[in-house]
């Protein structure tokens, strides 16, 4: 059985030649929750966008392969790739406020993929969406489906987006910091919902986060990113038990235990960062040689 998502040696650059992804390799098995953890700017969101084919126009992929359930995304025609991504993946975005179109009703935004891309009948899509709304514990689907986004709370909007993401039974969901923009109290509920739906539907999730606390709760495996490079990859339990890479250890030291709210916040150790910078500069030089 082929992997759900298999990324090999993916590199991407900005127009000025700066690398934002440095030979990233990543393999997500069906049904697996893989956390991508790193500080902001580490390129973790970029990986998710690359998989979904929505990189900003300034970022260019220069090498590497991405296989979605055995299909090479780079070899497909744009239209076929779009359809494949639309059918087999979904995105749970970071900010539920901006991820819904303010001028369209929730109902049409939830069903449009099912009806217009997957060709379902309107009735079937409606039934399916109501089923999912029930799963994310929305008790008044009639009102919600008729609402405009600004009439719902942030937590409700994120539930709607989660329901929409699972509606077409995708094989892979990219969850891009789905709890960051929410209130702390709502964060836990949303996280619990994602875990619950993931287990019931058996969907693989690429979970992008900067929060090691969330990583511990949700994922089976973790990839730690720094400056567009995977510095460590391990089973979640193993990573927390014995982090191998100095950067991972530094990151953990900088993260307050959520059990101990009074633990002091520390920045990531600078000596570790300086060592990493040298390492990466050397790697870049080696990479540039054959790539001109």
């Amino acid at each position: 059985m082929s992997a759900c998502l298999d990324i090999r040696d993916l590199s991407a650059v900005l127009p000025n030649g700066q690398r934002v992804l440095r030979s990233v390799s990543l393999c997500v098995q069906p049904g697996e929750v893989r956390a991508l953890v790193g500080e902001s700017g580490a390129g973790k969101t970029m990986i998710g966008k690359a998989v979904l084919g929505v990189l900003p126009s300034s970022v260019r992929i220069v090498e590497g392969d991405m296989m979605l359930e055995g299909e090479d995304l780079g070899r497909l025609q744009p239209k076929a790739r779009r359809t494949l991504i639309g059918a087999r993946t979904a995105l749970i975005p970071q900010d539920p406020l901006t991820a819904l179109n303010p001028s369209r009703r929730i109902g049409s935004q939830m069903t449009d993929r099912l009806v217009r891309i997957l060709g379902w009948s309107g009735e079937r899509a409606d039934t399916r969406i109501r089923q999912l709304l029930d799963e994310v514990q929305i008790r008044d689907p009639d009102r919600v489906l008729k609402s405009y986004p600004h009439e719902l709370s942030g937590g409700m909007r994120q539930r709607v987006l989660i329901a929409a993401a699972f509606a077409a039974e995708p094989r892979l969901i990219v969850a891009d910091e789905p709890t960051t923009a929410l209130d702390v109290t709502v964060q836990k509920q949303i996280l619990r919902l994602i875990v619950q739906l993931q287990r019931e539907h058996g969907t693989a999730i690429l979970f992008v986060t900067h929060d090691l606390g969330v990583v511990a709760k949700i994922s089976q495996k973790v990839s730690v990113l720094y400056a567009g490079k995977v510095v460590e990859e391990a089973e979640t339990a193993a990573l927390f038990a014995s982090p191998q890479h100095p950067y991972t250890r530094a990151l953990m030291a900088a993260t307050p235990r959520y059990t101990d709210p009074f633990a002091s916040l520390k920045p990531v150790d600078e000596a570790v960062l300086a060592g990493l910078a040298t390492e990466i500069a050397a790697a870049d030089q080696a990479w540039r040689r054959p790539h001109g």
């Binding site: 929505v54 991820a99 819904l100 001028s103 891309i117 405009y148």
Partner: protein, 335 residues
């Protein structure tokens, strides 16, 4: 909330119209030269002049004249044209449809041209296509309708004579129309031969009027489309599998169109203002052409009537756009 907004706008509109009435009245009365003297044959006596002045109410003070005229206007009586000796309102209504048809055809063309180029430019952002659209819209915007009219006359009236460069309809045609809305009526009567003849006369003035507006629509809509296209819900729509064109049309266009819509309101009044000289240029028998004749003939009642009708048209357009904006914006609609 919507009703309240509407009532406030309505009140402002009346104040504006009153202001226009005052300004045009004052400006005209300041004019040196006696229109009455121009009407009469050289041998007229002072008694004749006095009688005629009394007939047109010109023997009273300016304030008296203004309120006499205004109370007439409120009752729908705009007075009698001095040069044409006909009821001003009748003359205006006779010419207004021609101008309205021209302006609306121009508006439709501007929205079509501006909208298509904006969508195309947004879809092909960062490419040579977008750069080309930018250059074209820059030129279309900087050159005013009067000059576009002349360019079109040279191109399609003289160089490749495919359109008619003067008049509203070919004079030899037998017109069965009962209203002055020739274009609309020709379509309703299924007389497409007449529709074609009308369009052949109307197309060039309409394009001249439309080009600057099309450029503004294109630039602003493209800009707001590009802003909207970076938003999360658009990214989400791409992930869902929609093509870039579908994304623009379904997700981005409506939200991006709102700022453009407000702008079209003001710009449409500029377009109608432009009909005055463009109609003159193409000898198109509309309100603007008549207005210039009225000024040259010092026909005070007619000038007042025409200016007031233009002003009414302008404030009505602004009111409509304002209401449409409120209706289309769900956040305003639901409070």
């Amino acid at each position: 909330m919507l009703l309240q907004r509407f009532l406030i706008r309505l009140l402002t509109m009346l104040v504006t119209l009153f202001g226009v009435a005052v300004v045009v009245f004052v400006v005209i009365r300041v004019a040196p030269g006696d229109p009455i003297a121009m009407m009469l044959p050289p041998g007229a006596t002072d008694a004749d002049i006095a009688r005629l002045r009394a007939l047109y109410g010109l023997d009273k003070t300016i304030v008296q004249q203004f309120f006499i005229w205004l109370s007439g206007v409120v009752r729908g009586d705009f007075g009698t044209s001095i040069s044409l000796r006909q009821d001003v309102l009748g003359l205006v209504f006779n010419r207004l449809p021609a101008t309205l048809e021209l302006a609306i055809v121009a508006l439709v063309m501007a929205v079509a041209m501006g909208g298509t180029t904006a969508i195309l430019g947004a879809r092909e952002r960062g490419t040579a296509v977008e750069a080309g659209i930018d250059i074209a819209s820059g030129a279309a915007l900087s050159i005013p309708d009067f000059l576009w009219g002349l360019v079109l006359i040279l191109l399609f009236g003289v160089l490749v004579p495919i359109f008619d460069i003067s008049g509203r309809v070919s004079p030899q045609l037998d017109l069965p129309f009962v209203t002055q809305f020739y274009l609309a009526e020709s379509i309703l009567r299924l007389r497409f031969d007449l529709t074609w003849d009308l369009l052949k006369h109307m197309l060039m003035p309409a394009v001249a009027l439309a080009l600057p507006l099309a450029a503004i629509i294109s630039q602003l809509l493209k800009q707001s489309l590009k802003e909207v296209l970076d938003l999360d819900y658009v990214v989400l729509a791409r992930v869902k599998g929609f093509s870039e064109t579908q994304v623009i049309l379904r997700e981005a266009l409506k939200n991006a169109a709102l700022p453009t819509l407000t702008l079209i309101g003001v710009q449409f009044t500029f377009l109608i203002g432009g009909t005055v000289i463009v109609e003159r240029l193409f000898s198109y028998e509309g309100l603007g052409n008549m207005a210039i004749d009225a000024v040259i003939n010092r026909d005070l009642p007619l000038i007042q009537g025409i200016v007031l009708v233009f002003a009414l048209l302008f404030v009505l357009i602004n009111l409509t756009v304002d209401m449409m904006y409120a209706l289309l914006n769900p956040r305003l609609r639901h409070g």
